[in-house]
Amino acid sequence: MISFDNVTKRYPGGYEGLSNVSFHLEAGEMAFLTGHSGAGKSTLLKLIGLLERSTRGQVRVAGRNLTRLKSRLIPYHRREVGMIFQDHRLLYDRTVFDNVAMPLIVAGLRHNEVGRRVRAALDKVSLLDKEKVYPITLSGGEQQRVGIARAVVSKPPVVLADEPTGNLDPTLSQEIMRLFEQFNQVGVTLLIATHDLELIGRMKKRILILRDGRLERDGSIQV
């Protein structure tokens, strides 16, 4: 589903965010991406979501070669990649419902279909009773769950998460991970960047470790 082939990302000024990274993630796989800060975790995720383009090498997602994808087609690619951020990136002047509905409205779904799907997504993250609330009144864990609902509401085949449990206590983090496992069970391909080694050690999933932009280890090794 996601494959990197000798991918290098060099920023203006010569700094290399990623150097010659190669790996392949099967459809329906769930993997963690870890490494010290600045190791290139976010850069790697950005390449998959086409927030940035690789300098060298090939990135393929769902059979599409992102290196050659025309800029005008980027939005359609992003609709198939759900993204979850540490800082949630919610719109604080809109209700929880409207936040979660955004991907569907952007994709031009009909009104009644939007309502049905948003409620299903909110139900999955146990926030059905908060749909009319503004995100600012929610706790950090709840806001993160709104972000997750938004990422999965349009049922994308790929979901990326960048430090989704960064600001949460262990119990809440565990809850979020359980949610991810549930999505994975219905066939979603997940790639989760985190530096919470203890958490991913318990999950017994594939782990990609980056160090200074290079893929240091790849496997389901206990850390």
Binding site: L51, E52, P75, Y76, R79, M83, L91, V106, G108, R150
Partner: protein, 330 residues
């Protein structure tokens, strides 16, 4: 036979395909219109949530447009007024000295009988002398002449609207043998028309400049709006919104600013005219005229409102084109 059958089948499937294609197209057109309607309403709602700043921006646009619109209207009114005066231009026919009284009387009748003459009035040589004596103060000098040097004059009021027609008539009357000299008192009308032309050009220049100002106002307003909604634009791009999707609310915003500005301009012009109307009517009354200021007619109103709406759309288009692409999620 086989060939025929395959042809028929091909036609059949083509028909089916095109029908379903049209159906889908229809559906998509429906939802396209619906979506635009939703965005337009949402933009209206957004403007309504900050009524003060919306009113400020629209008022600035309105005032900028009211100026040329009002001047245009005023100019139209003045021209209408001058149209009345054109008709009042008179032709003076100075007759030859040797023309007999009998001949003069017949000429007056002839001129009066002409189709395009409203009236013709004779000033006899004696009347002319009398008037000259009264007005000039040269009575002593005239007495010493012993003979009346003044010709008889027929004052003709033509039944024409335009200076050109009056001039044509002047040339026709000049051909009469008894007429020594004919004069059309049109100089001032011509001057007035020339001044009106300059004024019209001036209004055009002013309208262009203020139109440009309106465009820049909208560009700036939308630019600020884009800056304010930076985070929102970034997030919407992240979840896969196309540029067209992101552009749309801003374009509608510009359209609405233009529309409101146009309506405010109309309101301002109408108010100003109604304030001016009664003193103008009083002044016209003093000149014995029933002149009233003409308000904005529907064609000018439509031109004003559609023009300002287009300026709004153009302005927001420029702002969106310049600033929306700068925002990319990171």
């Amino acid at each position: 036979m086989d060939r025929y059958r395959s042809k028929v089948m091909a036609r059949h499937t083509n028909k089916k395909r095109s029908a379903s294609f049209n159906g889908r197209r229809h559906l998509r057109l429906d939802s396209w219109i619906l979506r635009h309607l939703q965005v337009a309403l949402a933009s209206l709602g957004r403007l309504a949530r900050s009524p003060f700043s919306t009113l400020m921006t629209s008022a600035v646009i309105g005032i900028a447009l009211a100026l040329p619109a009002g001047l245009h209207l005023l100019l139209g009114n003045i021209q209408q007024l001058s149209g009345n005066w054109d008709g009042a231009a008179t032709i003076s026919l100075f007759l030859r000295q040797e023309t007999t009284q009998q001949r003069v009387d017949r000429l007056v009748k002839e001129v009066r009988a002409k189709q395009d003459v409203t009236s013709a009035r004779l000033i006899t040589r004696e009347q002319a002398l009398e008037e000259f004596r009264r007005l000039s103060g040269f009575s002593g000098a005239l007495d010493s002449l012993g003979e009346n040097p003044l010709p008889a004059v027929i004052v003709v009021e033509p039944l024409t609207e335009t200076p050109e027609a009056a001039e044509a008539m002047l040339n026709a009357l000049r051909q009469l043998t008894e007429v020594e000299f004919a004069q059309l008192d049109l100089q001032w009308v011509r001057r007035f028309h020339a001044i009106a032309d300059i004024a019209r050009r001036g209004v055009l220049v002013l309208a262009s400049l203020l139109g440009l100002a309106v465009l820049l106002i909208v560009v700036n307003t939308i630019r600020l709006e884009i800056q304010n909604r930076h985070a929102e634009i970034e997030i919407t791009k992240l979840i896969g919104a196309t540029n067209a999707f992101i552009r749309r609310p801003f374009l509608y915003c510009g359209i609405l600013y233009g529309l409101f500005g146009g309506l405010i301009a109309w309101l301002l012009v109408t108010l100003s005219l109604s304030l001016l109307d009664s003193p103008v009517a009083r002044l016209a009354g003093l000149y014995g005229s029933g002149f009233h200021l003409q308000g904005m007619d529907i064609a000018v109103l439509l031109l004003l409102v559609s023009g300002s709406t287009l300026l709004g759309l153009g302005g927001s288009w420029i702002a969106v084109g310049r600033h929306l692409n700068e925002i990319e999620p990171s």
